[in-house]
Amino acid sequence: MTAEFRLRQAWTIARLQLRRVFFSKRSSWVYLLALFPSVPFFGHAIEVKLSQSRYASRVTAAAILESIREGDTDEEVLKTAGEPVHERKFRRGPRGEASVEYRNLIYFDGERRWFLHFEAGILQNKRSRPLIDFEDDRKVFAGVFQYFYLRLAVFFGCLGIFMNLFRGEILDKTLHFWFLAPARREVLLAGKYLAGLIAATLIFATGAALSFGLMLWPQDAVELSAFWRAQGPEHLFWYATAAAAGCVGYGSLFLAAGLLVRNPVVPAIVILFWEGINGILPAALQKFSVLYYVQSLAPIPPPMDANAPALIQLLMSPADPPSTVAAVCGLLAVTALVLWIASRSVQRIEINYGTD
């Protein structure tokens, strides 16, 4: 049998498996994971678009809003700045005591929203925020990509897809069907891994690209066009590549785990924990994780989680990120090693369906 024949055979196996990965009911939650980040980004875009159209008729000059000082009364503010775009009044106070009237006013100067907070008719607090901030949104996307997409969505998605390739067949009592095909076990492994990889990459790279697109949608046209001319396409490419790289790494790990361990939840927890504490490990140990290579491919470094406990923030000492070439080579080397271990295991595996 020639290498070409085996490659064709692996491709046949991949094609057969692909249909199952893409169209099975079991994969629906993987789509959900991949597409979920698009939902809040879509919601954000809609909110911005609606606000822009709603506020368009009631723009107040920025100079007027800047002239308002804490201590001004609400009546004075209304007289100076005119009708706000949004107003809310409520009374609150401790039981048995007289309640205080609170009033929140929102103004729009064409770019920023101004939030004015009054207590008993006196301005207590004034702050402003741009209706949409491209820089901030890109940072938020970087955080979402690093903390949700790579660490959770790709992780659990790959867990579902790649564990299913062998362990799922064992649980379904259908693995013998593949073993009775005239194909070497390594070819079967390669075909199944390829199928999982194509499916996971397509699903997650598309999901990342979709979220990225939805993040860009409501941005200012001028800023957006400048972004597209500069780093835009590059950012999109590297986000999609990082998602794909995550699938390459986690896919091989979970494929091997599905072959080596009866209950893959145990290695999943161990890997989740290991990848989770990646940032606080010594630099040398950080290199033994998928995340180390994958996150350095993302175009914007992850922002520090503001909600993380102070101790964790103190311990966080990210190792120097590898160069892109080193990251890709490192990831491929780790993947090749894991797949080699998996191929040794698949040759030894026997059909002896248990009671799972």
Partner: protein, 286 residues
């Protein structure tokens, strides 16, 4: 051919009581669970934090040991609602892990092997079946949640004296009911997952996925929409807020305890709906 008439006579002997029959399911399940190495390892691992906390209580109640510490350190060593909320947060993780390993083996095998019709043909109703399975998890998770929590509370009461107990009794009550609420939610997630996917192993992964992914999704929503309400959909965070309210601790940033409680109740109702849909004695092959 001779045909012999045989009259059927039903069993005339004594029957066990209704409750004895009800406890058959949990009794055997507990025994089976304790035979699982992973469950035992987790149970043992879950005692480390309570033991540390016990040590902490001991140190904080020995004024002579505290001599020389500044006021800041003394405040740190105070046993109050904050101490119990931190304790509950740590133990709640063990409850999730334990339910991910122990929970799915309760229902998934019954569904996969078509055993439900067998159970329901006995005098066990669907509700009793669910309650019996819930009881298994309740017993198991209690060992790592409210039991050590209440023991710590009594230990502190014994060391700090009657006056401390009298002014802090609501902490003990809060620990007990707060953990019961958590056990209920975690158990429902484990049972619904195992009823939904039918594979023991996949159900375990799903239990973990529900808690981790929901937490991530909630924070993601907060970050993108610049809001705080989505934290209520993170079960751990929502429960933390509820515990703060129950124990009288300072609330954490985010939606208030009432909103969190409403969201958690809706989650529980959805999980019960899944159980109701999936636990049927008949199966339709599509």
């Amino acid at each position: 051919m001779a045909v012999y008439k045989r009259g059927y006579t039903r069993y005339q002997g004594a029957l066990t009581g209704h409750w004895a029959r009800f406890f058959v399911l949990p009794r055997f399940a507990w025994r089976r669970l304790l035979e699982q190495r992973l469950v035992v390892i987790l149970l043992v691992a879950a005692t480390f934090w309570p033991l540390l906390c016990a040590g902490f209580i001991y140190v904080s109640n020995h004024a002579d040991l505290l001599l020389g510490f500044d006021q800041k350190m003394s405040a740190f060593l105070r046993i109050d609602s904050r101490f119990f909320v931190i304790f509950m947060n740590a133990q709640s993780v063990f409850a999730i892990l334990l339910s991910a390993f122990a929970g799915p083996s309760l229902i998934a095998p019954d569904l996969a092997n078509g055993a439900l019709s067998l159970y329901f043909s006995r005098p066990i109703s669907r509700v009793e079946y669910v309650l019996a399975r819930l009881l298994v998890l309740l017993g198991m998770l209690s060992l790592v949640t409210w039991v050590p929590g209440v023991l710590l509370f009594f230990m502190q009461s014994a060391m700090a004296g009657w006056s401390w107990f009298a002014s802090n009794w609501q902490l003990g009550v809060g620990v007990f009911f707060g953990f019961l609420l958590w056990i209920l939610l975690v158990s429902l997630v484990a049972m619904a997952s195992s009823a939904y996917v039918r594979w023991r192993i996949v159900a375990g992964a799903l239990v973990l996925g529900v808690f981790f992914v929901l937490a991530g999704a909630a924070e993601l929503t907060n970050a993108v929409l610049r809001v705080e309400w989505a934290s209520a959909f993170n079960p751990g965070r929502a429960m933390n807020q509820i515990w703060c309210a129950m124990l009288g601790a300072d609330p954490i940033p985010g939606p208030n305890a009432t909103f969190c409680f409403i969201v958690v109740s809706i989650m529980a109702a959805l999980l019960l709906f899944v159980l109701n849909r999936k636990l049927r004695p008949v199966e339709v092959v599509s």
